[in-house]
Amino acid sequence: MAQNYKQDDEILGKAYDAKLMKRLLKFVRPYKKYMVYAILLNIVVAVLGPVRPYLTKIAVDHSIANRDYSGLLLVTILLLASLVLQAVIQYFLTYYTQYLGQKTILDIRTKLFSHIQKLAASFFDKTPIGRIVTRVTNDIESLNELFSSGIIMIFSDIFIIIWILVFMFFMDLNLSLVTLSVIPVLMYGTFLFRKKVRDAFRDVRFHLARLNSYMQEHVTGISVVQIFNKEEDEKKSFAEINKDHKIANVNSIFYYAVFYPAVELISAIAIGLIIWYGGGEVIQSTLTLGTLFAFLQYTEMFFRPIRDLSEKYNIMQTAMASSERIFKLLDNNTFIPEAANPVKLPKIKGKIEFRNVCFAYSQDNYVLKNINFLIIPGETVAIVGATGAGKTSIINILTRFYDINRGQILLDDVDIRELTKNDLRRFISVVLQDVFLFSGTIKSNIGMNHPDISDNQIIEAAKLVGADKFIEQLPGKYDEDVKERGATLSVGQKQLISFARALAFNPQILILDEATSSVDTETELIIREAIQKLLVGRTAIVIAHRLSTIQNSDKIIVMHKGEIKEIGTHQELLALKGIYFKLYQLQYKDQEIAIS
C-alpha cells in the first residue's frame, strides 16, 4: 500500500521546460520593464556587498598602516554609504519584484477563472470541483514564487558570486584559488543535502498525508469506530501511523543535523586555509594583512548565494509542474459552440418545438429518444414521469447546457443553436429543484447583482411569491447575510427565494423543476400559490411534482424511459388509464387527501 501512495505523491518533473517557460513569460510581458529594471538593479546591488571587504582592506593596508585618520574616515563613510545604498536599493528591488510576481499571477488567475467560466456543463459534471479549485488557487500560488523570487533571485545570486570572484582574483590569484578549493566540496555537499532533504521531506509529506487522511477518514466514520468497539484497536493503528510520521521527521532532522555543522566546518577549513596559506604569504611579504582580512570576510559571503541557488531548483520544479497543469486547463476547449452568424431575436413570443430530438450524455447511451412536442406561447406544460425518465435532460438541452445529438429544438421557429447562448438564456429562466444560493445577501441572491434589476423590482418579486413575509422578519431584512449556501434558511424559504429570483428576471419562458422535498403544510400552500403566480403570462415548462401544477397545466407530457408515451390534459390522460393514471395514483393522490 505504501508503494501506491508514493507513486501518487506529487510527481515532479523537470526544473526547466523551455516551452512552458515561454508561455509563462508571455504573462510577464506587460510588466517587462519591471523585470528589466529588477535585473539591472540586481547587477548594481550585487557589487555593494562584495565591495565592503575590499574597502576594509584599504582601511587596514593604507589608512591604519599609514596612520591616516582622514583616510580611515573616508573609508568609514564609504562603507556606510554602500550599506545605506544597498539597503535602499534592496527595499525597492524586493518591493517591485514581489509586485511583478503578484501582478503576473493576478493576470494568470483571472484569465484561468474566466476560461473556466466559459467551459461547458459537461466539464463540470466530469471534473471534481476540488480539482478545479486547486488550479485557480494553489497551483497559481506556486507560480508566485517563481516570478517574485525564483527567476530574479537566480540572477542576483549569480551576480553576487561573480563580483566576489572579481574582487578576490583582483587582490590575490593564488590565495583565491586556495580559498576556492573548498567550493566544490561545499557545492557537492549542498547538492547532496538538497537531494537527501528533498527525499526525506517527500517521505515526511507522504506520512503526513497518511496521518491526515487517517484522521479525516476516521472522524468521518467515527460512528463505525464506536459501534464496532474499535477505539482500542484504532489507538494502535493510529500509533503506528503517528510513529511512521515521527520517524520520517526524525530522519529529516538527521540531515539538517549533519548539514549545518558540515557547512560551518567547510567555512572553518576555508578560514584555516586563508590563515595558513595567506599567513605564509604575509610572512613572505607577498600579501598584505588587509587582503587577508578581506578574504576572511569573503568566505562568509560566499556561502549564502550557493545555498540559495540549490533551493531555487525546488521552486522551479514545483512551478513547472503547476504551470503544466494550469496550461492544460487553459487548453481545455469543452465549449458549447456559438453560432458563427447568430440570429438576433429582439423579443420572442415563446413558442417551443422539439423535432425528433435524440440526446445522450455519453456515446450511444440515449436518455432522450425521438422527442417531439410543441408548446404554444403562453402555455403551461407539465412533464411527468418516474425517475430516470429523462425529464431533467429536457432542461439541460433546452438551455444548451448540453447540445443534442440529433433533431432540432426551435424557439419561435429558430433553431436554438442559431441564437447566441446569452440571448437564449436571457429568454429562459430556470428554477432548479436543488436551490443554489450564493454567499451574499438576500437581495443579491434574488437580483443576482444584475445592474438592470432595481431594489424595488427585487422587493416586488419577493412580495409576489410571498417571500417577503419571512424576509421582513429577518434582522437585516433584504440585506440579511446569506451564508454557506443558505444554511440558515429552511428548504421552503430557499425555494421562495429562487422563485423570486426567476420572477425578478421576468423571462418569456420559465422552466421549473419542482422540488419533491416535503415542507410543512403552511409553506406548501405558499409555494403552491407562488408557482401559480410565476406561471402567469409566460410559456412555462414544469417538471411537476405537485397536483395543483398538473391540474392547471394546459398540457401534460408523460415520459417513460426516455420517450414520450402520452400527451394530453389531466382529464384526458386519466381517462386513458395508462402510465399517467398509475403515476397519478402513486405520486399525487396523497396530496389530494392532504388538501381535502
Binding site: D8, V75, L80, M215, V219, V224, K243, Y260, N449, L586
Partner: protein, 582 residues
C-alpha cells in the same frame, strides 16, 4: 503561558534527553566561540612576530574547534529537536485518543475540517515551541553570555559602542514579527475567501450560466484576486523594509568597529586581530538577536494553539462506563424494552422521540417504517448508546442500558447504518473490522449471507482489493452489502439494519432476506425499511410518525387497519407495476 504549562508532563518524560541537549549546547558553544579567538591570535601574531609553525597550528585549531562545535551541534538536534518530535507524537496520540471517544453529538456540531485544523496547525504550532523555540532560546542565551564576555575582554569600549544598535534588532523583530504575523494571517484569510469563492462559483455554475452572470462573477473574482494582491503587497511592504533594516543595523555595528577599532589600532591600543575577532563576534550576535524576537512570537502563537487544544481535550466523553456500570454483564440475550422513552438532540430542541413504549423479545424480528425525519434512526441509535436517552428507560435483558459495560453492549450489537461507511483499506480488513483477530471463514460466510461474495469474485484482487480513493469505488448497493457483511462477521446477538437495502435491487434483497432468515434464528433483529417487501415477514411492524408509534402489528393486521402502512403497501404495488411496463 498558562496553557503551555500543561505541557510540563511531556517535558518531564524526556527530561534526561533534554538535559543532555542543554549540556551539548554549552559544549558546542565553547567550540564555536573559540574560533574567533584563534583567528584573532593568528592575525595578531602575523602583525607582530612571524612564524610558520604557529600559523599552521592556529589554522588547525580553527578547524578543530569547528569540528568539536559541529559534533555537539549534531547532538543538539538529535536530542532537543528529536524530543520535540517525540512530544508532538505524544500530544497527537493523546489528542486522537480523546477525539475518538467523544460522543457523536460532538461530531455533529464540529466539522471535520475544524478538527483537522486543530490536529495539524495547532499541534504544529505547539511543536515549534517545544523544538526550535526552546533550542534557540537556550542556545542564544548561552552564546550571548560567552560572546559578550570575550568581546568585553578584548575591548570593553569598542564592544559597548558596537552593541548599541543591536537591542533595536530584538525589538524590531518582535514588533515587526507581530505585524508580519497579522498581515500574513490576513493573506491567509483572503486566500481562503478566494478558495471559497471559486468553490461556490464552480458548484453553482449552472445557476450562473442560466442567469448570464458569468461576466459579473469574473468581475467579482477579479476584484477578490486584486484584494488578495493588495493584502500580499501589504506584507511585502514591511518585509521589503525589514530585511534591509536588519542588515543596516548589523552593518552599522561593524562600521563602528572599523572606525573605533581602526583608531585604536593606529594608536596601538589594539591589534588588527582584535578588531577581526570583534567583527566576527558581532556576526555571531546578529542571529541570537533576531532569534530572540522570533522566539517570543512563536511562544505567543503556541500559547494560543495550546489553548484551543486544551478546550478539546477537556471536552467530556458523556457516553462511557460509570459507577452504575455492572461489569458482571458480559453477554446479552437480546430482550429489548423501551419504556416511555423520550429523546431530543439538545436541551432546548424539540423531542425527536416521544413516549416510546416497545418490547422486542429475544429471537424476534421488529420492522420499523415511517417517513424521513420521523425518528426511526434515532430510536435504534439509542440501543448501542450512540446517544443516551433524555427520559424514560431502555432495558436490555432487563438491565438498564447504562448499567451494561459499553464494550459488552456494542460487542453484541451489529448495527448497519443508513449511510454505509467503509475505510480505504482492503475488503477483508473492512469486513473483519469488528474482529480482534482476522477470521477468514467468518468473513467468507458473512459475505455469502450478504450476497457480497459474488461481487468480490469480480474484483481484481478478490478480498485483498483496496477500496477508496486509491483503490476501487463500490456502488451504493455493494457498499450496503459490504456493511451488512461487516456487521454479520461479529456474530451479534442483536442485529439492526437501518434502511440498509435502499440501494440494493429488490431481487438481490430477497435473496439476502432468505439468507438472513437462517442467520437471525435465536437473534433479535430490527429492520428499518421503506419497502413493504422487506418488512412484511417481521414478527412485528411499527409505523413511526413525528417521533410516535402510530401503528403496530403484523403485516396482515396493519393491512386490515387500512392506515398509513396499508397506503404505502398499495403505492408500492403500483410502482412495481409501473416499472414492469415498457
Amino acid at each position: 503561558m498558562n496553557h503551555l504549562y500543561s505541557l510540563k508532563k511531556y517535558f518531564l518524560k524526556y527530561k534526561s534527553k533534554l538535559l543532555f541537549g542543554v549540556v551539548f549546547i554549552f559544549l558546542s558553544s565553547v567550540g564555536y566561540v573559540y574560533i574567533p579567538v584563534a583567528i584573532k591570535d593568528a592575525i595578531n601574531e602575523l602583525q607582530t612576530t612571524m612564524s610558520y609553525s604557529t600559523i599552521l597550528s592556529y589554522a588547525l585549531l580553527i578547524v578543530g574547534s569547528s569540528l568539536i562545535s559541529g559534533i555537539f551541534r549534531f547532538y543538539i538536534r538529535q536530542t532537543i529537536i528529536v524530543v520535540s518530535r517525540e512530544i508532538e507524537y505524544d500530544l497527537r496520540r493523546d489528542f486522537w485518543e480523546h477525539i475518538q471517544k467523544l460522543p457523536l453529538k460532538y461530531f455533529q456540531n464540529t466539522s471535520t475540517g475544524n478538527i483537522m485544523a486543530h490536529a495539524t496547525n495547532d499541534i504544529n504550532a505547539v511543536r515549534m515551541f517545544i523544538g526550535p523555540a526552546v533550542m534557540y532560546s537556550i542556545d542564544t542565551l548561552i552564546r550571548f553570555i560567552m560572546v559578550i564576555a570575550i568581546m568585553a575582554s578584548i575591548s570593553l569600549e569598542v564592544t559597548l559602542y558596537s552593541l548599541l544598535p543591536l537591542p533595536i534588532l530584538s525589538i524590531l523583530v518582535y514588533k515587526v514579527g507581530k505585524k508580519i504575523h497579522e498581515r500574513f494571517t490576513a493573506i491567509q484569510e483572503k486566500f481562503s475567501e478566494l478558495t471559497t469563492k471559486a468553490q461556490e462559483n464552480f458548484s453553482g455554475i449552472r445557476v450562473i450560466k442560466s442567469y448570464l452572470r458569468e461576466d459579473f462573477e469574473i468581475e467579482a473574482f477579479t476584484q477578490l484576486s486584486k484584494e488578495y494582491l493588495h493584502k500580499n503587497m501589504r506584507l511585502v511592504k514591511i518585509q521589503a523594509l525589514f530585511q534591509p533594516i536588519l542588515f543596516l543595523i548589523t552593518g552599522i555595528s561593524v562600521i563602528i568597529v572599523v572606525w573605533m577599532g581602526g583608531l585604536k589600532v593606529i594608536s596601538g591600543e589594539l591589534l588588527l586581530g582584535d578588531i577581526t575577532a570583534i567583527i566576527i563576534y558581532l556576526g555571531m550576535l546578529t542571529w541570537p538577536m533576531i532569534a530572540f524576537g522570533w522566539v517570543i512570537n512563536i511562544i505567543q502563537q503556541a500559547e494560543a494553539s495550546m489553548k484551543r487544544l486544551s478546550i478539546i481535550l477537556s471536552e467530556r466523553f458523556e457516553i462511557e462506563d460509570s459507577k452504575e456500570t455492572n461489569y458482571a454483564i458480559k453477554d446479552l440475550y437480546g430482550d429489548i424494552e423501551f419504556r416511555n422513552v423520550t429523546f431530543s438532540y439538545g436541551k432546548h430542541l424539540k423531542p425527536v422521540l416521544k413516549g416510546i413504549n416497545l418490547k422486542i423479545p429475544r429471537g424476534t424480528t421488529l420492522a420499523i417504517m415511517g417517513g424521513t425525519g420521523s425518528g426511526k434512526s434515532t430510536l435504534i441509535n439509542l440501543i448501542p448508546r450512540l446517544y443516551d436517552l433524555s427520559d424514560g428507560e431502555l432495558l436490555i435483558d432487563g438491565h438498564p442500558v447504562k448499567s451494561i459495560p459499553l464494550s459488552a453492549l456494542r460487542k453484541n450489537i451489529g448495527l448497519v447504518q443508513q449511510e454505509s461507511f467503509l475505510f480505504s483499506d482492503t475488503i477483508e480488513n473492512n469486513l473483519a473490522y469488528g474482529l480482534h483477530s482476522f477470521n477468514e471463514s467468518a468473513v467468507k460466510n458473512a459475505s455469502r449471507i450478504a450476497r457480497f461474495d459474488i461481487d468480490v469474485r469480480d474484483f481484481p484482487s478478490g478480498y485483498k482489493t483496496i477500496l477508496g480513493e486509491r483503490g476501487i469505488t463500490l456502488s451504493g448497493g455493494q457498499k450496503q452489502r459490504a456493511s451488512l457483511a461487516r456487521a454479520l462477521v461479529i456474530d451479534p446477538k442483536i442485529l439492526i439494519l437501518d434502511d440498509s437495502f435502499s440501494a440494493v435491487d429488490t431481487h438481490t434483497e430477497e435473496e439476502i432476506l432468505i439468507n438472513l432468515r437462517e442467520f437471525m434464528k435465536n437473534r433479535t433483529s430490527i429492520i428499518i425499511s421503506h419497502r413493504v417487501s422487506t418488512v412484511k415477514d417481521a414478527d412485528k411492524i411499527i409505523y413511526i410518525e413525528n417521533g410516535k408509534i402510530i401503528e403496530e402489528g403484523t403485516h396482515y393486521e396493519l393491512l386490515a387497519l387500512n392506515g398509513k402502512y396499508a397506503e404505502v403497501h398499495y403505492k408500492q404495488m403500483l410502482e412495481k407495476e409501473l416499472m414492469e411496463l415498457n
